[in-house]
Amino acid sequence: MRVTSQTIARQVAEGLQRAYQRVARAQEVVTSGRRINHLSDDPVGASRAMRLRGFEESLAQYQRNIDNSLPFFNQADSVLGDVTESLTRAKELALAMVNDTNSEAERRSTAREVRQIFLQLLSEANTKVENRFLFGGFLNGSAPFAEGAARVDYLGDNGEITIQTNPTSTLPINLQGSAVFQGSGVVGGQGIFDVLQDLQAVLEGGSSASAITLGVNLDAAATSGTGFSPADTVGTEAPSATWLGEAGYSTVVTVFDAIGQAHNLTFLFAKTGATTFQYRVVADSDEITGGTPGNLYQVAPQGSLEFNADGTFNAAGSTLMDITLTGLADGAADITVAAADLSFAGSAQLAEPSAVLTLTQTNTKGLHAQIGRLDAAIDQVLTFRAELGARLNSAKVAGDAAGMLKDRTLAQRSQIEDADALASYSEFARYQHAFQAAIQSASQVIQPSLLDYLS
């Protein structure tokens, strides 16, 4: 083939250009430290790297989700720990009061301590983390528990707040306040506040369900009443139409049913003869299925109390009746106080009108009922605490897994994207040498011409 100076010039120019391009490319790789600087350097690798980077960001997000949830878990755990301790303390108090030897003053001061525990738990149940109430469900912008007229009301809802812990699963970070503190939806669930309130009530007075011992001081001077008006039918008697007998001659005894709910039994008394009184027992109508709030309902037929001429109680002459509370609205079994368990021992007919009640017996049965409920409540809290622990654990596991996966993804991406420093530098050096060699040879090839040798 014929070779001309143009051929060589072109060859040199193109060869140098190519060599220079290679040097520039190698230089770019060395300075950026990355194998892929433009999409076309490795289209498959570039989009894989982008996908991996997106995945890393999701993993970081999962870690962030989990980290954000930790204060909630930790705070809820500490609250439930406190609740368990408090309930245990309440149980200890109740156990100490079971004994008949405790005075009323002791019971009442214990009742005050129970009230303190109640208040403390109420404030714990309204714990806030980062401006959100832990146990309010979705309605966590305001305090979920408030002490109402009788019971503690739950103002939150059953919303389950979840966080995403990996691409396919979520983890609830909150416990439902109504379940934890009120036992709703829990098998054998206990209302923790109710138990404490009832314990307090038992300690403050009232009686047990079976074995009611009353000492009543009835007024000898009272005029005879006209009889009883509360009917036997549920929900018919308004309280204004209370018994027409002696005003103020009534006493309330709290009894507890099998599920620990308190019921008030009201004993009404009327003078029917010189030494004879009659009594009836009525209950609040709305505690019975089908009853109307505010009405009364007669539980037992009327019985009579006979006094001796000296005013002392004549047990033999008295007729006592069984008290049976049936059809309880809360679904508990019937409450029965047998006539044999009812005692008016210590009652008297006194010249001076003194009213009614002397409680002569510690409410052992009531306390035992509450202690049983406290145990159930403690178990309930422990169960939730265990569930919380399991969730916290799975959150930590998920967080660690995300972290590990992120490291692996990072390594994988680096392998695709990053230049091997040593290899890229040696490649750069190689191309540079090649370029220098090309320049040197070009200068030698181009220069000589026949002209150099003619003169």
């Binding site: 014929r2 001309t4 999409l39 997000q61 469900g137």
Partner: protein, 465 residues
């Protein structure tokens, strides 16, 4: 016969060598002229005379000045210029497109950040900071999409500009080629060689085929016809012209073909090869396809997020409105990804809750919005948002890579063929210098012959004196 004959041989020889020296000079002068083909003076011995029973040589004569070309290589070069023109324009366009999609920190990063912000909102649905951050990240995503689309549109505009200047250039080349056609025909019918005209025309033809990928056919009278996409651009001394003064529906220029007789029609679809074919393909097909896909991506994002958002309830307990300003058409969607004005004015209106009565703690709708990140959408070919986007970016990379490889290959072919042409037509300084010395010596020898003839005359004259 006689001394005068000798003298005339010498004179003729000197003239021939002079011509040869001149041609060598011409070759040397054009050593760096692009497209120049070296010329060679063909010397032949003159027709002998028959005198006194002896055949006597009558010296030298110039039979032709030949242009050294290989017609086959020249034709191959023309078609290669068309191919390289196509690859080169495609590669240039794709190289600028691929820089629009950075290998990190592009739309995909903005998309991840957007969903990250929604995830943070799910972690704290009542938080105002989280809500503001969602709006900020959405703005960044919208900005990134709009900027990418804008860049693609300006690539399209640049290609359009390029097309228009190419059209101007084609017109100029067609006219010049037609003129040279006429000159070559005139010169050659006189029986002279139109060597330099042919070189000039060949250079122009190379540029024209590079632009249009046209086919070139030479007639018997030495004129060429140039046909691009079935349209005759040059036919002998006549030439057609192209105009690019009409806009199509997309606001880009079309190519109008106009015959020398003034007949004209839209010929945009005829240009499929060469640089112009490549520009049209990149402008109307490839770049447009990227813009359409980006719009489809943006429209799907807007529609799906809005649909999910409308199922939720905001911090005031009202049902969620539009999260993005909703759009009626897909075209232009990528330029208009914006947070709804009501929401940017009041971040509380982001609907993170799934029911009206479960605010502020309810994060279910925020979770559902985050869930869109991993949802496959039929409108995106059954892919997630991210996969669709990465598919688009991956396509750009793959196309660019292929275009580079194709250009490298065609360029290598061109270089090789150019080297082959050079080996036939190229000027070698050494060779010309050698010839120069050779012709110079020959000239000197001829002048010596004149002196010898002169001496002979002198002797003759002295004889008679």
């Amino acid at each position: 016969m006689g001394i005068s004959s000798t003298l005339s041989i010498a004179a003729q020889a000197m003239q021939a060598q002079q011509l040869a020296i001149q041609t060598t000079g011409h070759n040397l002068a054009n050593v760096a002229t692009p497209g120049f083909s070296r010329q060679r003076v063909d010397l032949a011995s003159a027709f002998p005379s028959f005198e006194g029973g002896v055949i006597l040589g009558q010296g030298v004569e110039v039979s032709a000045v030949q242009r050294m070309v290989d017609r086959f290589t020249e034709a191959e070069l023309l078609s290669l210029h068309g191919t390289v023109g196509f690859s080169d324009a495609q590669n240039q366009a794709l190289a600028s497109i691929q820089e629009i999609f950075p290998t990190s920190g592009g739309i995909d990063a903005a998309l991840s950040a957007f969903f990250g912000a929604l995830s943070d909102l799910a972690n704290n649905p009542a938080g105002l900071t989280e809500r503001v951050s969602v709006i900020g990240k959405t703005g960044a995503l919208g900005g990134s999409l709009a900027q990418t689309r804008q860049s693609l549109t300006s690539v399209q505009q640049n290609l359009d500009e390029h097309l228009r200047s190419s059209v101007e250039r084609v017109n100029l080349l067609a006219e010049q080629i037609a003129t040279l056609n006429a000159q070559i025909a005139t010169t050659e019918t006189r029986g002279e060689a139109a060597n330099d005209f042919r070189d000039q025309r060949q250079t122009l033809l190379q540029e024209l085929t590079s632009l249009t990928g046209a086919a070139v056919r030479e007639d018997r009278d030495g004129q060429v016809n140039v046909i691009a996409g079935g349209l005759m651009l040059v036919g002998g001394a006549r030439f057609a012209s192209l105009r690019s003064d009409t806009l199509n529906a997309a606001g880009l220029h079309t190519i109008t073909y106009q015959t020398p007789d003034g007949l004209s029609f839209d010929a945009t679809a005829q240009f499929t090869v060469g640089k112009m074919g490549s520009i049209l393909n990149m402008r109307d097909v490839k770049t447009q396809d990227l813009i359409d896909r980006l719009d489809q991506f943006a429209k799907t994002l807007i529609d799906e997020v809005n649909a999910q958002h409308a199922l939720g309830f905001d911090l005031t307990g009202a049902a969620g409105g539009d999260f993005f300003t909703s759009l009626a058409t897909t075209t232009g969607a990528a330029a208009n990804v914006r947070v709804d004005a009501a929401i940017s004015a009041d971040p509380r209106l982001i609907a993170a809750a799934a029911a009206a009565d479960t605010v502020p703690g309810d994060n279910r709708n925020a979770q559902a919005l985050v869930g869109l990140q991993t949802t496959n959408f039929a409108a995106l070919g059954g892919l997630t948002l991210q996969d669709n986007l990465l598919g688009l970016i991956g396509d750009v990379g793959a196309q660019t890579q292929t275009a580079q490889a194709r250009l490298d290959f065609h360029q290598a072919l061109l270089t090789q063929t150019q080297a082959r042409r050079e080996s036939v037509s190229g000027v070698s300084i050494d060779e010309e210098m050698t010839k120069l010395i050779q012709f110079q010596r020959a000239f000197e020898a001829s002048s010596m012959l004149v002196r010898t003839a002169d001496d002979l005359y002198q002797s003759l004259l002295d004889m008679v004196r």
